[in-house]
């Protein structure tokens, strides 16, 4: 493996222009998500999904403000944040993929191979962030590749390239972590103690994200899980228990298997999004 590459998304300089969303779709030739007015601030694409690999969240916050107006709760903070696949160190999607369609690249990123994915959908509930998703029309799973093809050609990912304010930074993960620590320190020095990093620590529940963030509020505010844990964390111990129990219940399992196979998979097929 060459150096592990990553994204550092500094939301404190995001201007919500959505150039990342558009550049991602242009480069990866993703379909649109339909034309629906969501009436949720300036966000009309909702969330990450099979055809939205970068998604900008808009959070309008009301706080007591100095104003000569009526004080009806004007917004004084408009948080914007471009979300993306976290490319986890311990990636559950990859762990559960039965076909090997999901793999760890030489850049340390996690990529789905579209010609191998069979659409089983195991990866969808496995992701602790709710990132990976299946497309309704072809059933396969899709997500951010951190522009694997561009990286192979020596280019930075399309979203980072398009970002006008360098809110999205791409580079060797170690270097990004240093840069993020510096940025955090300077924001704290400016008197912005609410600034925090999210997903940068190798000690967190996913072993550290390959795409991490600087946030200005609690992760939940941005729709991010506060303490994500790789969903396959307990698999080894589960397998030990399963092994011990296996002999005694083998007959029962065989009966259940023959009777419930097709129905068991049907539930996954509803996983697609609008």
């Amino acid at each position: 493996m060459t150096e592990r590459m990553g994204f550092f998304t500094d939301t404190s300089v995001c201007i919500g222009c959505k150039a990342c969303e558009v550049a991602c779709k242009e480069w990866n030739q993703l379909p649109d998500d339909g034309f629906v007015f969501e009436a949720t601030s300036y966000d009309n694409t909702g969330q990450l999904g099979a055809s939205t690999w970068r998604h900008v969240a808009f959070i309008e916050q009301t706080r007591p403000v100095r104003t000569s107006g009526d004080g009806d709760g004007g917004v004084d903070r408009w948080l914007m944040s471009s979300d993306v696949c976290k490319h986890c160190t311990h990636a559950a999607c990859l762990d559960v993929c039965p076909t090997g369609a999901l793999f760890r690249t030489e850049f340390g990123t996690v990529v789905v191979q579209e010609d191998i994915c069979n659409g089983c959908g195991y990866c969808v509930p496995a992701c602790p962030f709710g990132v990976i998703d299946r497309r309704e029309d072809d059933g396969r799973a899709w997500k951010c590749t951190m522009c694997y093809d561009r990286q192979r050609g020596g280019l930075e990912p399309a979203c980072a390239k398009a970002c006008p304010t360098d809110s999205i930074q791409f580079g060797p993960l170690d270097e990004l972590r240093e840069r993020a620590a510096d940025r955090l320190e300077s924001l704290h020095a400016e008197g912005r103690p609410e600034a925090r990093l999210y997903g940068e620590s190798p000690d967190d529940g996913v072993g550290g994200a390959g795409a991490f963030f600087l946030l200005l509020d609690e992760p939940e505010v941005y729709g991010l899980p506060p303490d994500p844990v790789v969903t396959t964390r307990d698999l080894p111990s589960m397998w030990r228990w399963a092994g011990a129990a296996a002999l005694s219940v083998a007959g029962v399992v065989a009966v259940a298997f023959s009777g419930g196979f097709s129905g068991g998979f049907a539930g996954f097929r509803d996983g697609g999004r609008r």
């Binding site: 222009c17 601030s41 009309n44 100095r66 107006g69 009526d70």
Partner: protein
């Protein structure tokens, strides 16, 4: 700025990272506010109160950069005894004629004998105003006395400094609170920040866009900022300035090489049919003889030589009579009225979509429907080309396709990646772009279209005298490829101009009045210096100085900051080490520095012009504003503006608020079109109680023809919406995501509701004033994947008298929950509103 110029906003983000403090003044909390240190919500249409109060704060506390102000502005200049201020005349300046609603600027002039006043000042303002005269001074100044009497102590009651003090004395923080809705505490924070951040060591910049220009007092908004920046010494210095963000790529270019009716390339005035009998007469009346405009004969003769070549000779006034002539106002909205009246028969619409993009869409479409022929060139089949088969007037029954006789020609256009040429950005920077791919099908570049149209017209000319101007035109460019695409580089070289040896010139100072040089636009002279396309230079910033002189090419003469002589003190030394930019090198006897000096290279700071000197020689070594006839930055404008020598706060044409400053409610010189086709909401009408402002979103471009057909943009903002505060939503029963109907005297439209605390009600004169925001990117067609009602149909046809820009940033409206009525019922609702 983050909303509409996100790429440029990266530099604001970078400045902020280096410690700059950013204030954002806007009626709404926008994406720009999100990254600013402080957002000041303001009532749309009240900015002169805020800026005027800042001027008053600076003057009242003597916080001006006195050395700069004394040396480089007209603060000390004495004004004529005849001048009367708005303070004397309850909101009017002297010289107002209520019959024509225009000013005679004679009484505004500097003190001095009347016979020395320039012809234009003596002639009065009506002709001037009728042809949007002020617009011609885009980069320059009108003529004024070159060396008027002054009082350097600034104590004389008629010196500009004292006139300013009296004029702005009532622009107080309390007035700001009353009219803008900005608290005295917030005002103080802004005032302290900009004054503390100006002077020798520091500079402050103001950045604006059409939020300042699209008002009936738009030009005066910018003027107020100019006064403030001159007082604080923030012009001609790095980090200072008033930065206009243009609304489209190369809009700067389209005023430099104009698509405007009243100017020729390089801001030379378009001749008038009745005022200018010949070349000498024209040159005598347009502009002063001192400063660089004193060379205008060289600029104009070189232009005429570029256009008519060998045919232009000294004997025939260099074909001056071949130029078209004005007879008055031929601006956009007057042209539309001419269409409705049947006096305008044909119309070229190129890269514009007036049926959706201009104010008062109904009047626009009625005009289009009354034409003989219409040519539309665009990337997509825009609404202007299809109004006759699917316009909103068909639904209401006001128009029937079979009654519309207009013959419409739609010609598909090549996009910017399908043709070569330059963009000129707001910084006057010309950047060459290559063609990336051939245009598809029948799409062609504008250059191709006009070149071949001209060629074909010329083939059909007769020997008749009336055809002579077209027959004698130089019209020979190298062609390339199967479609015979003319060479854009050859056009740029023609614009640059050549000398007697046929070689490309390198500077406007080489232009001659005798016909020995050619130049298509004098300010662009040098863009092809050394026979090299200087606009195509792309040396990366990291390989050169921070000024980056080898990236593209900036007019004039590749100067990146205009009037940069002002970055040095009168003796020619930098005001401070920190702000050093250009300075006088006494040993070598020349100006030098980081940028190309915007000054004669060898004119020493102690140069005193001899008696009778003209052009640039008439300016002293301490006159940085080299385009002005007196070389000074004008705090007070003795000539050149249609609505007064100083800015005064007037309410928008449609406002729910009384102007407490003067009896004069709105700009007395504003241009109106009082016609039944597009009536106005009465001022302070209870039927139209809300302030309406319109704007653009990051996700779309103008009327949407370039963004609504693109799925990746259309999905990001799929529908027209109106932004309302939670308080107003509760009052009117508007539900988030539901529909609202917006009404003005012009029309009724519907939009989805976005309830947001980013729009705040303001306390104005003790009353709650609600503002409603509407983006304007939607129309019924234009190849859009998403469509919607036309916001601009709501707008009144009322203009700034200087530049004829419509007031689209502040008007009044009513809002109702639910969708609008359809067909005839919509007209009935409109009638109710008009007559109630």
């Amino acid at each position: 700025m983050a909303e509409c110029h996100p790429v440029g906003f990266q530099w604001v983000v970078e400045a902020r990272a280096r410690g700059a403090k950013v204030f954002h003044v806007d009626p709404r909390f926008t994406r720009t506010s999100a990254l600013a240190d402080r957002h000041l919500p303001i009532r749309a249409g009240s900015d002169i109160v805020l800026l005027g109060a800042l001027v008053n704060h600076v003057l009242g506390n003597e916080l001006d950069f006195r050395e700069y102000v004394l040396a480089y502005t007209n603060a000390a200049t004495l004004v004529s005894e005849d001048f009367q201020d708005t303070e004397d005349l309850d909101g009017l300046f002297s010289g107002f004629d209520p019959e024509t609603c225009s000013y005679d600027p004679k009484s505004w002039s500097y003190e001095g004998p009347a016979e020395h006043a320039p012809g234009e000042t003596l002639e009065g303002g009506l002709h001037h105003a009728a042809a949007a005269g002020a617009d011609r001074y885009g980069s320059s100044g009108a003529a004024a006395h070159p060396s008027p009497p002054t009082d350097p102590t600034l104590r004389h009651p008629r010196c500009v400094y004292q006139i300013l003090r009296r004029h702005f004395a009532r622009y107080t923080p309390q007035l700001v609170e009353q009219l803008c809705g900005i608290s005295p505490e917030d005002f103080a924070e802004l005032a302290d920040a900009i004054t503390a951040n100006s002077g020798r060591e520091r500079t402050t910049a103001w950045v604006y866009s059409v939020g300042w220009t699209q008002h009936t007092v738009g030009a005066q908004y910018i003027r107020t900022a100019a006064i403030l920046q001159l007082l604080l010494g923030n012009i001609g210095r790095p980090g200072g300035g008033i930065l206009a963000l243009r609304g489209h790529a190369s809009i700067q270019g389209s005023t430099d090489i104009p698509t405007l009716f009243n100017i020729l390339p390089g801001y030379l005035a378009m001749p008038h049919a009745h005022r200018h009998t010949g070349l000498d007469d024209y040159l005598a009346r347009e502009g002063g003889d001192t400063g660089f405009w004193g060379n205008r004969r060289s600029y104009l003769v070189s232009l005429l030589k570029a256009w008519w070549g060998e045919a232009a000779t000294e004997e025939n006034d260099f074909c001056f009579d071949h130029l078209p002539r004005l007879t008055g106002d031929h601006g956009h909205y007057t042209t539309v009225m001419g269409q409705i009246d049947g006096t305008v028969k044909g119309y070229f619409v190129v890269g514009e979509n007036p049926a959706v993009g201009s104010s008062g869409g109904r009047a626009q479409r009625l005009g289009l429907a009354n034409l003989g022929w219409l040519v539309v060139r665009d990337l997509t089949l825009v609404e202007t080309a299809t109004f006759w088969q699917d316009g909103p007037e068909l639904e209401t029954g006001e128009m029937r396709t079979e009654d519309i006789a207009t013959e419409v020609f739609f010609l598909p256009a090549a996009s910017h990646v399908e043709k070569e040429g330059t963009f000129t950005n707001t910084q006057r920077l010309l950047q060459w772009r290559e063609k990336a791919l051939d245009p598809p099908g029948d799409c062609r570049s504008d250059l191709w279209f006009y070149y071949h149209l001209g060629r074909i017209l010329r083939e059909r000319l007769t020997g008749d005298e009336i055809d002579r101007p077209l027959r004698e035109l130089t019209w020979d460019y190298p062609e390339d490829g199967e479609h015979r695409e003319p060479s854009a580089a050859a056009v740029l070289r023609e614009i640059n101009g050549v000398g007697p040896d046929g070689r490309a010139l390198s500077s406007p100072t080489q232009l001659r009045p005798d016909g020995s040089t050619t130049c298509g636009c004098w300010i662009y002279c040098g863009v092809y210096a050394g026979e090299v396309n200087q606009a195509a230079r792309r040396r990366p910033g990291r390989e050169q100085t921070p000024v980056a002189p080898e990236w593209g090419w900036a007019w004039p003469a590749n100067r990146r900051i205009l009037y940069n002589r002002a970055s040095a003190d009168p003796e020619g030394r930098p005001w401070s080490e920190r702000k050093a930019y250009v300075w006088w090198d006494a040993e070598r006897g020349e100006w030098t520095g980081h940028d190309v000096p915007d000054f004669e290279r060898n004119k020493p700071p102690d140069y005193v012009p001899p008696e009778g000197a003209r052009a640039e020689a008439a300016l002293s070594g301490t006159d940085p504003f080299v385009m002005q006839s007196d070389g000074k930055g004008w705090l007070y404008v003795p000539a050149g503006l249609a609505d007064g020598p100083l800015p005064a706060h007037y309410e928008p044409h449609e406002s729910p608020v009384r102007n407490p400053l003067y009896g004069q409610q709105a700009n007395p010189a504003r241009r109106t079109y009082p016609r039944a086709v597009s009536p106005y909401n009465p001022p302070r009408s209870p039927r139209f109680p809300y302030v309406l402002t319109t704007y653009r979103l990051t996700e779309h471009h103008t009327a949407g023809a370039m963004s609504r057909p693109l799925a990746y943009l259309a999905e990001l903002q799929p529908e027209l919406f109106c932004e309302v505060s939670p308080l107003l939503a509760a009052e009117l029963g508007l539900a988030n995501g539901d529909w609202a109907t917006i009404v003005t005297s012009r029309t009724v439209i519907e939009a989805r509701v976005l309830v947001t605390g980013r729009v705040r009600p303001l306390r104005i004169q003790g009353e709650t004033v609600h503002q409603i925001g509407l983006p304007y990117h939607w129309g019924w067609g234009g190849g859009g994947l998403v469509t919607g009602d036309v916001t601009n149909d709501l707008l009144p046809l009322v203009l700034d008298p200087n530049v004829y820009i419509q007031e689209s940033k502040a008007m009044t409206c009513d809002v109702r929950p639910g969708r609008r009525p359809r067909g005839r019922a919509m007209l009935d609702l409109l009638e109710e509103y008009r007559h109630d």
